[in-house]
């Protein structure tokens, strides 16, 4: 039996790096310690896609990697508006190859951020981001605000490792040295743990941020008695808490990025953090979901100048979420072929988008079958990054980390699959040019 310590967990944006994995004589993982239930399940592995396959007469027929890759390349080379989507539960090396493929075929390339923290990125580009690392929060934060975010369910180890429940250099008492505030539309499990819970009317976050900004800037006189279901006295006491704090962190999630004013909520949340700077140190951070959703945005930004939803059809990067996002081009019925990697749009996209996806040729690369497999025309199974393949990833606070290979696998790594498709596409184009 082999024991691997300090293993990084390839599940959520926390990328916990204190996991212990035991591997049996047969090379199979037998035990995972220190991970949350979701992380443990992912590292242990389950229900894999066993073979590459191509759909014929409505049924998936098993085939070789070579055949599946060739068919995928033919579909992509032929497409007039192809979409390459997913990229968040894989490593940066795959994402880099994906960008090369997108440039080669004039595709739209987009990652899961566009249905997750894409609005946060839009806001950050508009107004900047006063942020920090998770380590700073662990060691310094005395006020932790979770806004539209429910870490108990979505990031189970987050509070224990990095925020409210963790013990740091200047917060040796753990939660005794901190106060936790939860702002949400309902009393979540996380809200039940909070020292202060502020209940906002759905879609009203933008108004609350603006009211808090006005109060923190000394204009509480203009703020009405109630703002989006929150009484003014509660806003004043939250503002008072902020003014008296040493270090504030606001973690925000889908509750604000995809409700009401969406990206403008986040721009306003960041401006609220700035207004707090008139009194104390304040920081803000998105609760990124997939472990490397941030990494794709980093890779795309240094290769193409933009972080996601990039249309390369006219030979230059055109960035216009709302027009060039995966959901946008699917709902508008614009794209005529799609490659989906390490993602499941069939489960997470709006019905109209899924309906269009089911009508066009779809290539799926994933370790696991999921509802997208049900209509995929080419299915290519891959190794699990962080368990069966190594690579670079970016944590939610933009700290780059290297996930490891723990066990061998019969499956091809994501990067190799994408590079092989790229080679085939180039060969097809060369032939066409002759």
């Amino acid at each position: 039996m082999a024991v691997y310590t300090d293993v990084l967990c390839p599940f959520c944006g926390c990328i916990c790096d204190d996991i212990v994995v035991e591997v049996g004589e047969d090379g199979k993982i037998t035990k995972v310690k220190g991970a949350c239930a979701i992380g443990r399940s992912k590292i242990m592995g389950h229900d894999r896609m066993e073979s590459p396959a191509i759909r014929e007469d409505g049924e998936l027929r098993d085939c070789s990697y070579d055949e599946a890759i060739k068919r995928a390349a033919e579909i992509l080379a032929d497409a007039r508006r192809p979409l390459l989507y997913g990229w968040s539960s894989t490593v940066c090396e795959t994402d880099r190859a994906g960008v090369e493929l997108a440039v080669e075929i004039g595709a739209i390339i987009d990652n899961t951020a566009s249905v997750c923290h894409g609005p946060s990125i839009l806001a950050i580009q508009d107004v900047g981001l006063p942020s920090c690392t998770l380590g700073q929060i662990r060691n310094r934060a005395d006020i932790v605000i979770y806004w539209g975010s429910n870490p108990v369910f979505a990031h189970p180890n987050h509070m224990k490792r990095y925020s409210y429940l963790s013990k740091g250099r200047f917060t040796p008492g753990g939660k005794k040295d901190r106060k936790m505030v939860v702002v949400d539309v309902r009393e979540t499990k996380s809200a039940k743990l909070a020292d202060l819970f502020v209940k906002v009317r759905p879609g009203g976050d933008f108004l609350v941020f603006s009211a808090l900004r006005a109060i923190l800037r000394g204009h509480e006189d203009v703020v009405p008695d109630e703002v989006a279901g929150v009484e003014k006295k509660d806003l004043l006491s939250l503002a008072e808490m902020i003014k008296n704090a040493n270090f504030i962190i606001t973690f925000f999630g889908m509750g604000v990025t995809h409700s009401g004013a969406r990206h403008n909520n986040i721009a306003n949340a960041i401006e609220f953090t700035r207004a707090a700077h008139l009194h104390t140190k304040a920081t803000i951070m998105p609760m990124r979901g997939h472990y490397n959703v941030n990494g794709f945005n980093q890779v795309c930004t240094w290769l193409l100048g933009y972080p996601f939803s990039i249309d390369l059809s006219q030979g230059y990067p055109w960035y216009n979420p709302g027009e060039t996002g995966a959901v946008d081009v699917l709902v508008h019925g614009e794209c005529d072929a799609a490659l989906i990697i390490s993602s499941d749009p069939a489960s997470h996209f709006p019905a109209d988008a899924v309906r269009h996806l089911a009508r066009i040729p779809v290539i799926q690369i994933d370790p696991y079958p999921n509802p997208t497999t049900e209509f995929a025309d080419v299915v290519i199974p891959s190794a699990i990054c962080g368990v069966e393949a190594e690579g670079s990833v970016y944590r939610m606070d933009s700290v780059p980390l290297r996930v490891r290979k723990i066990v061998d696998s019969k499956f091809m790594a994501d990067e190799e699959i994408i590079r092989r498709i790229l080679e085939e596409v180039r060969a097809i184009k060369e032939k066409e040019g002759e």
């Binding site: 075929i105 004039g106 933008f206 108004l207 066009i360």
Partner: protein, 263 residues
């Protein structure tokens, strides 16, 4: 007057189960002025990730003569919802679209006149600097706003929307005038710095982060920003309006926007 008609061929934008949009930014009166019929027909337009001769996608007919771009009239006909960038960066002449049009109609326009006899999709009149844009139907989101990363939207010109308008119209607007006869969705005039917006119907959260300019709402305001200060009641054209100043969320010194709401 030289008239150039582009009639979208039936099914021309089909690619399998998809309908791939075409970018017609080269088809403006100023860019087509001086071109012969054959040259116009062989103008290259982007259709998806490949360029095509315009004739493959549109039936083209040309008549009359012009001594300048201002005497050129371009007409688009057919189902135009997937036709993007009509009148993009146009500086003179006239465009008429006979039906609802795709995104970016009249974006970055500097002069001339566009009439849309239907609705216009998102980013119509975006970063517009001059000219006139008339939309007979509704306008989508980001009307007269700016593209991602920019901090100045519309700076000049006149826009009239006879129906309703979408979210975030006139974001970062710095000049010009917009009239919306119907309602305006969330955050009209967000980050507005100058210019004037008249909303004859209702508006949701208008004027957030406003540092200049004027927004007049003749209907109801839903979710009034909690960071605006009531100043006085004023009379405009015989109607009483409540006058507010804001947005105090950006601080008192910068809060120089005016929001007028009919009482």
């Amino acid at each position: 007057m030289r008239q150039i008609v582009f009639k979208l061929r039936d099914g021309a934008l089909r690619s399998g189960a998809a309908e791939v949009p075409v970018d017609v930014s080269p088809l403006t009166p100023d860019k087509l002025f001086g071109e012969g019929e054959d040259e116009i027909k062989s103008t290259k337009v982007w259709w998806g990730n490949r360029q095509e001769n315009v004739e493959r996608i549109f039936e083209v007919s040309v008549s009359g003569d012009a001594s300048g771009a201002e005497e050129v009239k371009v007409v688009f006909e057919g189902e135009l919802r997937k036709v993007k960038r009509i009148g993009y960066e146009m500086s003179a002449g006239e465009i008429v679209a006979e039906g609802s049009v795709g995104m970016h109609c009249g974006a970055r326009m500097r002069g001339g006149r566009i009439t849309v006899n239907g609705s216009a999709d998102c980013w119509a009149g975006c970063e517009m600097h001059g000219g006139t844009l008339i939309i007979e139907g509704d306008a989508g989101d980001n009307l007269c706003a700016c593209y991602r990363g920019e901090t100045t939207g519309m700076t000049g010109g006149t826009v009239v929307v006879k129906g309703n308008a979408g979210e975030c119209i006139a974001q970062y607007m710095a000049g010009g005038e917009i009239t919306v006869r119907g309602n305006a969705d969330m955050l009209a005039g967000l980050d507005m710095k100058g210019g004037k917006i008249v909303i004859e119907g209702d508006a949701v959260m208008p004027g957030a982060n406003m540092s200049g300019g004027e927004i007049i709402v003749k209907g109801k305001v839903i979710d009034m920003m909690p960071s605006f200060k009531y100043e006085e009641t004023v009379t405009i054209d015989g109607e009483e309006y409540k006058k507010y100043r804001g947005d105090f969320a950006i601080g008192e010194k910068k809060a120089k926007g005016t929001l007028l709401i009919r009482s």
